[in-house]
Symmetry: C2
Subunit: 132 residues, 2 copies
DNA sequence: AGAATACTTAAGTATCCACTTGACAATCGG
DNA sequence: CCGATTGTCAAGTGGATACTTAAGTATTCT
């Protein structure tokens, strides 16, 4: 069970340990982008965007072992990008839209901050006779 | 110069070698998501979203060495997320909006594909008397 | 019941990659 | 011109992680 801990402590945190009450604050963005950082996992998301599918069907086009696919799925599920459900002996996987939304939101925030900055800059260039 | 090759060939490609004429097709999504997969690099993007800034100013809050920051910046620049310009001895870094756009687009495509699927499903449930 | 399917889990390996150190290069300030 | 800033480059290290193999579990088929 202590197998898939990412334990990003070493590099992720800058200073000393976080107080426990803000430990789980937004664990998702970290995990989501880490998950999307792997090309195989993006390929899995690609396939999943076509619709729900079983683990072995997912593995078919991937030319890695089933076991490896399962490991990727665990990462994706823990990050909240994917949701799975086992019925009988087959586990069906589907996209969890909230995960992709969180990623999109992070990107959108940074982008709009940057663009707002550009706008203000534009204003300054347009009216250079305000006080300073 | 052959220092920062990611050389994702082994795992990224599924089958045999790609023909050279489709090698550089969309190298960006891979690099962009790999770049955003690292928390330190996301912190850099965060800071950059406040406006252009020099390398050493960027490094200050990061408690890693300047050299490490430079390496992260190379990854970010090669992925197209960041643009830099050196004037005198100081290199100024800024966000390249096209990079974030590409990431946002990738996410948006998968998300909308998935949601379109859900819509069709909704239609079926709503009108179960169409032919099959 | 026995065989086949569809995963699951654990352990080991090899590669990748974030980071450091240390030496060097170029520019700026007195 | 000398020292201080600001950044660059190369090599090395340790830890993370994508993947494999191999053995095990639970379900379905005949």
């Amino acid at each position: 069970m202590p197998c898939l801990q990412h334990n990003e402590s070493a590099r992720t945190r800058q200073g000393t340990a976080l107080p426990h009450y803000m430990q789980k604050k937004k664990p998702n963005v970290d995990r989501i982008f880490h998950a999307l950082g792997d090309p195989t996992r993006r390929a899995i998301m690609e396939k999943l965007s076509e619709g729900p599918i079983s683990v072995s069907r997912l593995a078919e086009p991937l030319d890695i072992t089933l076991a490896a696919v399962v490991q990727h799925l665990q990462v994706l599920e823990e990050s909240g990008l994917v949701q799975t459900e086992k019925i009988g002996r087959v586990r069906t996987c589907r996209i969890e839209p909230a995960g992709l939304s969180a990623a999109a939101q992070w990107i959108g925030e940074r982008r709009s901050r940057w663009e707002k900055r550009l706008d203000r800059l534009g204003d300054l260039l347009a009216e250079p006779d305000e006080d300073d």
